[in-house]
Symmetry: C2
Amino acid sequence: MYSEFIDKFGAKIIDDNILKRIEEISGEKPHKFLRRGIFYAHRDFEKILDMYDRGEEFYLYTGRGPSNNLHIGHIIPFEFTAYLQRIFNVKVVIQITDDEKYFTRDLDQETINQYADDNIIQIMKTGFIPEKTFIFKNMEYIGTLYHNICRIQKILKLVTVGKTFGFIGNNDQDELKITDKDINMGAVSFCPIQMAPCFSSSFPDFFGKNSKLMCLIPCAIDQDPYFRLVRDIAEKLGENKPAMIYSKFIPSLTSNEKMSSSVHNTAIFITDDMNIVKKKIYASLSGGGDTKELHRKNGANLEVDVAYQYLSILIDNDDELVEITDKYKSGVMLTGELKNRTIDVVMDVMERYK
Amino acid sequence: MYSEFIDKFGAKIIDDNILKRIEEISGEKPHKFLRRGIFYAHRDFEKILDMYDRGEEFYLYTGRGPSNNLHIGHIIPFEFTAYLQRIFNVKVVIQITDDEKYFTRDLDQETINQYADDNIIQIMKTGFIPEKTFIFKNMEYIGTLYHNICRIQKILKLVTVGKTFGFIGNNDQDELKITDKDINMGAVSFCPIQMAPCFSSSFPDFFGKNSKLMCLIPCAIDQDPYFRLVRDIAEKLGENKPAMIYSKFIPSLTSNEKMSSSVHNTAIFITDDMNIVKKKIYASLSGGGDTKELHRKNGANLEVDVAYQYLSILIDNDDELVEITDKYKSGVMLTGELKNRTIDVVMDVMERYK
């Protein structure tokens, strides 16, 4: 999937040259999510680095659908965006897509709004520079966004959006057929709303009126369709194409499949207390041997081991990660030891959200 | 067409009983547009009259797409709405659909906005009670409307909207096929925006927060699809179904076909001066005889006579209308005389817009 994304959709790998440039800019080694290939691909990120070198202004744009509290997987893009903000010293806009979650979930506006407000407080604790960060809920901010939404809506065809998001036409014979006959108008209309913040003129109070700054979007690869569409129409609108920097999905953190269904909540929410975290991690699917003897003999299967995956993403120290990886894989380190270390690492990450 | 609208879509004729009730309420004979069958059909208008009798509050909603200056045909619904406001003493909301015109015309936002502002000034001269009238441009007001737009978008399916407005599925075989492959996202997304003002909670500052007043919509029959959809979903949203009162199209005033193409502007704009009005009416297609002799002998064809149609809609005095109709039809009155009287009538109507 991750290489298909590069080959098929024309994104580029974040290579050593880019990592080196980031190291030069920041004066420190690149963020662990870069070092470990969590953020692994991009479009036009080199252009952003060139702009930085020339002292030109740009901004960051990311977002969040507030259908629940944040879990530990959700903070990865925010932590990374806050990192980019810090090293580039730029402004950030964060879109809270309360409207989209309302359209696509069985939740009322009040419930979504409560999640949105809670999420905003949590997101800001990730480490954004408050005076350089504008975080907004669509339901509140749409009035200001609307002139750009309209510009996008005017040149974007229903058929293009339908094909991009898979609700129109899956083959040549039926290329104009609605394939999701129950799709509601909200889900259909939403696409330009996520596209509009790619143009800095959507934020006249934050960037100045008629601003035309270039935008860099840190996001997971599943959000690419929105931003590919923006790139397709940007020129026609006299706007800059946004640049993107893409993360892999974090399945061990965001999917439920690998955690025991006996645990009430299958993801670790950043508001969970230590006892809950312990319970969830102890109950998580292990890649260790079934018995101590088998484990010592065969070692652990890291691919399916949820606790190991948490740890491998979140731990700060590269050397310790290498050491743990070796020891756990070879069976020298036991599952219980691994899980205890993971609990410490997770609790460290969650400290700032208390 | 007008009887099909009654038979096929279940609207009702405005009958003598309704006219009598309006006369009782207003203490004067019903408006000329009612007497002459320009406003001729309705849904639930009797319910509105019952509410009035019981002293219950309701409001009026109408609108305007600002793609040009107002011409004389456009003022008909506004004059009628202002009349209803006066006899019922109720609030009015007027939606200026600057967004929709931007999506569907080859005009930029600045041009549309200028038309919108000019239109608003002109509309208010129609005779609305200023302190009971709220007129708004979608591009400015969408932020407040949006919570209701979202409620509508969530329960309204793309397929339903597409079928209602003719861009999806024209027959059973292709019932899910997009039939307008170039339709843009704006035109698709607009429908709920015209629907939202049917719920008084869209105007918290005007009606109070969480208001649930019933709405009466004076409109031409081509706007019915929007409001039929609202009626279909209102109950599910815990809202009142709006009532409607429908006018016929005014083809002699709004269509270009019947006016000479040698005239620069084919419609009479309410800002035209007397010389322009004269020129346009003199140049308009006549139903009179080709020669004075033939006219005296055969009389005029009223059906195709543009000046007569203007006059028959706009003149105040019923007796004079009957007299002119008889005389012109029979050939006693000449085309020149008819046109001169029409010019006077039109200039009278336009007086208030100076």
